[in-house]
Symmetry: C2
Subunit: 382 residues, 2 copies
Amino acid sequence: MSVVGIIGAGQLARMLALAGLPLGLRFVMLDPAEAPCAAALGTHLRAGYDDRAQLARLARMCDVVTYEFEKVPDESVAFLAESVTVRPGAASLAAARDRLREKTLFCDLEIPTPRFAPVDSRAELDRAVATIGLPAVLKTRTLGYDGKGQEVLRRLDDVSAAWASLGGVPLLLEAHVRFQREVSVIGVRDRRGHCRFYPLAENRHHDGILRLSRSRPGDRLESQAQEFARRLLEHLGHVGALTLELFQEGDVLLANEMAPRVHNSGHWTIEGAVTSQFENHLRALLDWPLGDTAAVGYSAMINLIGEIPGPSGVVAVPGAHLHLYGKEPRAGRKLGHVTASASTAARLEDRLQRLLRVTGPREPEAPKHERPAGRVPARSAP
Amino acid sequence: MSVVGIIGAGQLARMLALAGLPLGLRFVMLDPAEAPCAAALGTHLRAGYDDRAQLARLARMCDVVTYEFEKVPDESVAFLAESVTVRPGAASLAAARDRLREKTLFCDLEIPTPRFAPVDSRAELDRAVATIGLPAVLKTRTLGYDGKGQEVLRRLDDVSAAWASLGGVPLLLEAHVRFQREVSVIGVRDRRGHCRFYPLAENRHHDGILRLSRSRPGDRLESQAQEFARRLLEHLGHVGALTLELFQEGDVLLANEMAPRVHNSGHWTIEGAVTSQFENHLRALLDWPLGDTAAVGYSAMINLIGEIPGPSGVVAVPGAHLHLYGKEPRAGRKLGHVTASASTAARLEDRLQRLLRVTGPREPEAPKHERPAGRVPARSAP
């Protein structure tokens, strides 16, 4: 019986465990929280992500170690990798943790991305604004998620305030894209280099947090997105799932960011694909053959943010599947999701609208070329 | 957050918990074993099924209590029911625990069943053989499963040996049916009387243990089987899942036995139906609306008995879903199952044959009107 270690014991770890228990796997999770939501599904090592003694213990207990987010320190991964297989590897983690490395990698691999410039001083910010133009987005290079660590600059007057808000850590200025859609693609690669790709997902955000993902199998931009993800997987020698988020501007896709892991925009795959993103990530970790990523019918996912609706009302919608994470409600917190599935696109849309009424705020509006409230499409939290 | 109690913590409890955790449920399981396979997914009360103190504790901890098998004593259910809702209720349990009551109920509800007679003495056995004729099957009235507690009588010479083997406890003699198929149907009923039925499953046994179930949506005998199940659900005021196993003799279905619970022949519903039997059982317990029982594509299930194949070989078959129960291998023990799914019947059959090669003994042969080894289609263990 294989034992899988996970750094982090939040909802992604929880869904990995729920996918892995039927496969005969056991889980050990390292997380500093007292009772993180995945802890009950395995052994919980309560420790900081840089606790060498507990990292060493994790390595001894497991056949392979993975992580559910990017904020695990590079040093911890390097330390673990001395004594246990860590997947995905350090190269993937390093690229995803730093927006400058990430954007530079996109350029190296000829994956289009919004214009950008590193910003480490006020003078550099002024030069970057002159080069890139406005509107633009100032972002921290590391540790941003769900719209945090970002400021939109619309006019020159905004520059000082943005610098006051974010200055002092390494930053990046990006051109603000007038996109029509935000989409994401999830690819999985095994050790021998076989890759599989899930259908494109179309994402809508609300207050900087992903609210709704619709799977769009056969979307005309799907193969372009999958090709970009393939370049990343192959270049990084990535093993496991990798997510690439993109903006659609006209007929062009621009890479926004990548995550070296399963992703919120792929939760619909639990019911909506032959093999879920969670199972395929585990298969890759264990050197098992990857599973079919094809969609089964039509699916979409709604995040439950801040509050949990009555479960009875949710499951009353035909084809609805409720996934609660066992977390205490708190404003802005991802507490669960609902997947809607149907055999036709029209029926899915009907069910989705019913679920949006049951689960709180109505469907977020399509982007209007400008975000209303100083936030841009966000780096999603795990 | 609702808390569900389960008497028994075997694989059915485990799959109930795996279905219920994403719904926000917590589980408490009462089981005398030290580390039964569901225990890690909830709170485990280690106690005998008649331990009043622990039963009372279970009742206090839970919003509703269910059970994963029929051997829970009637007295324990009556005791629990004084202080907590128990679903399904005592009537369902009593009918399913005793083959004589069960058969009598079938007759009362005009559900055809093989001829039978109660046998409590050697003299009664002789009279029953004279009335029912041979071949016939002598069975214990209670506690039989997986072919245990049964003897086939082919000739008058067999009567004494069968009596020597089984005599001394209440027995039943049944006509031996020359069936073409064994099928089962699972129905779910909620408290208000709404019923849903899964497609018919066609079952093959090997050494008295279920080896293979194929879902047969739209089978021409499906509506007949569902109508019989509906009579049972309504008569018993049943709340939860109920399984009816039947023999097909020509175009006639004869009820073999019922189980007041989810069933091995419905494991394919985890991937193969919109809502699994496990989720629907939980929904009924909690007074939530029942979910769609329709099949998604074509599915079949293979039991893993006695040994566990290499998981990598299993998941290499497209559309295969592995479910291991976390049990120690032992001859004749159900250790897991594999579901095969496909979008066409022909593709399913191809995948199924590949999986049968990977998972051990080849497909059990269709019934040849007589079982080879003194065993008959069996009461399935949980």
